[in-house]
Amino acid sequence: MLQPECQELVHAGRRDRPSYGAALNNVEYADVLGDLDALIFQGNDGYALDSTSLRELRTRLVRQSFAWHYGQCEPYRAYCSRAGVGPDDVRTYDDLVRIPLLPTSIFKKKGVSSVAAAEIAKVCVSSGTQGGQSRIFRDKVSLERLLGGVRQGVNLLDDEVDRDRHVFVLGPDTDQAADLWFSYVLSIVDFLHPTTFYVERDVFRPEQLLGDLLALDREVQPLLVGPPFLVAELAGHAISQGSRLRLAERDALVITAGGWKRFQATALSREEIDACLIEGLGVAPGQVRDAFNMVELNTVLFECSSKKKHVPPWLFASAREPVSLAPRSGGEEGLLAFCDPAARSYPCFILTDDVGAVSDEHRCDCGRWGHTLEITRRVARVEARGCALKMDRTLAVHAGTEGGS
């Protein structure tokens, strides 16, 4: 027999979701979640927003971030002052292009931070093998947002969110990745999914990877992640071994990131990589995707099922005319620039060495609304080299194959 208050509870019409009513002295409320973190961590679907809402949201997030860094980072504030732009000058979506951009080369010369030294959780570095080394000061919040963005990116790769996955990283674990950004990002993916690493003491172990793929529980989706030269090496190894892997049956995904770097001249096209992976690993053609990131950027851009790199709703991406830095029209090539509010500990308003195009807002074939990004090439400056190159060179030196592929 229910107690009277239980009966009252049953008949309270609770499924009508009434208002909470009078304040209770044993209940406390806390506002903890801003728009940015709701987007990044709670999967609020920014790609479902209409154009007006998306622009309003992006403007608000980037403005807040600009005001934060302007207030917290003295060198950046001085830089903005010289440019004559402050937070009050950035009010609308069209104003976002006025935010002063830091050339990524600045991070090679100067430590730029918006937080106290005690808050820095990780100093992330680029390879620096051909020039200066970028040093990016990340706090815990920025690192967590980066991971949250990666988690969202996995949803771009695969619509089935709640799925058991195993990540096969064609790179080293954290202790050997050290501070090298690309390797480090790959090495902390195991916060999200069980992960195994296949570069040990600078040696890539494709044989072990193929064996582990064969042994993986059939219910678990394999995710292979690595620089394209190692992905190509893996596929080549599988072909040479007469592998009978049929990863399409497991809905496997292969994600390349980091570019070809030293092997640019002999780089395989995407179609050729796809063909190798189809032959060697039995991967489905649509399941080979690319991702874009750089040490100075706090967001990773992933490709959807239509192989388009989507700009997440919090990130403002634009292509700029190289001399005047005027914004290019949608789809026109220029130097890529990013305003990334996901970075709390340093002003991530950056002008990169990458040439590419940012589309106008449109409905992608995958169904998502927003901008997509296309990377064309990297400006040929001596210092402009990525972490994949460092990994490539390290591996090559160790294997005694420097200079060959």
Binding site: L2, Q3, E5, C6, L9, V10, A12, R14, R15, R17, P18, Y20, G21, L24, N26, V27, E28, Y29, A30, D31, V32, L33, G34, D37, A38, I40, F41, Q42, A121, K122, K140, V141, L143, E144, R145, L147, G148, D162, R163, D164, D173, T174, I188, D190, F191, P194, T195
Partner: protein, 310 residues
């Protein structure tokens, strides 16, 4: 810094083996108060390592375990998961702690469905636990299961639409037999009113729950209805938050949880700002350590085996 840890294999009342990890705090006099963290549905020991870091920093020894008939290293398959088997595990682990580890006192922390189990444990053993803290505690099992898997699985059983307890169907990520629903109904786990009944039995145990205001699986209205009738239940509602804690919500939520436990189990007051946050590097190290445990079979894992039978 990672705290010293011991790996245990506890033989429970159903003779199944429970994998457990004990971490010792590096602060506070011994014997220290202890917190048992029960695993949420489809979660393992590793999933609560961040919660554990907050509690270890406040002088609690922390024991975490994998549930039987569940994912993780303990015996049994998740197909056979029921709330009653989860309760058996929790009571077995609590007994093991009390008898073998002899802490200053014992408290419980649990997330989601395990929160409902922890309330039943406190109801069943009044006075046994100094306090019970939970995150996104499920207060209406039927409704939560319905929201989580899109099918009224518990209602299907109670209203006769499902009759085969061995039929298994996916709940969130894994197939679970309808025995889950059968047991939920038979052992009175299934509704808001059965939760209130348990809360009334646990009226002498201080309770605390963190609730996401926009949780699609647990109604904030339902929880507040319970809070209205349960003066020993403190609730923190996180505006805009959903069912699972994330990096943006966990810091505040876990500091509140730690403060509640310090106040109730250690009888000392502490400001939220005085509760330290785990360092990023430590989280990376601990996560990797615990991923490696997940890859190690239970047979190879035993450091010490002990009876947990009540």
């Amino acid at each position: 810094m990672t705290e010293p840890h011991s790996l245990f294999r506890i033989v429970g009342s159903r003779t199944q083996r429970i994998a457990a990890v004990l971490e010792r705090a590096q602060v506070g006099p011994s014997p220290r108060p202890m917190v048992v963290i029960a695993p949420a549905f489809e979660h393992t020991i590793r999933n609560s390592f961040v919660i554990a870091r907050y509690l270890l920093g406040q002088g609690f020894d922390v024991l975490r375990y994998d549930a039987c008939n569940h994912v993780g290293l303990s015996d049994g398959s998740i197909e056979d998961f029921t709330l009653t088997s989860a309760l058996d595990d929790l009571l077995d682990v609590a007994r093991f702690c009390r008898v073998e580890l002899q802490p200053a006192n014992l408290s419980l922390v649990a997330t989601s469905l395990a929160g409902r189990v922890a309330i039943r444990a406190a109801a069943k053993l009044p006075g046994e636990f100094s306090c019970v803290g939970s995150i996104a505690c499920v207060v209406d099992v039927r409704e939560t299961v319905k929201q989580a898997c899109g099918i009224d699985r518990v209602g299907d059983w109670s209203e006769g639409r499902a009759t085969d307890p061995n039929f298994a169907d996916k709940v969130v990520r894994h197939p679970v037999k309808y025995a889950f629903s059968k047991v939920a109904v038979e052992d009175r786990w299934d509704s808001l009113e059965t939760t209130l009944r348990d809360l009334q039995e646990a009226r002498d145990t201080p309770l605390f729950d963190v609730q996401g205001e926009d949780d699609p699986w647990v109604s904030t209205t339902d929880l507040l209805e319970l809070a209205k009738r349960t003066p020993n239940l403190e609730v923190l509602v996180l505006r805009r938050a959903v069912h699972e804690l994330n990096a943006a919500t966990s810091s505040l939520a876990l500091r509140h949880l730690a403060r509640f436990l310090v106040r109730r189990a250690q009888q000392r007051d502490i400001e939220l700002d005085a509760i330290g946050e785990p360092r990023w590097d430590d989280l990376v190290v601990v996560n990797k350590r615990e991923r490696s445990w997940e890859r190690t079979p239970l047979d190879a894992w035993v450091i010490r085996e002990a009876k947990g039978n009540r």
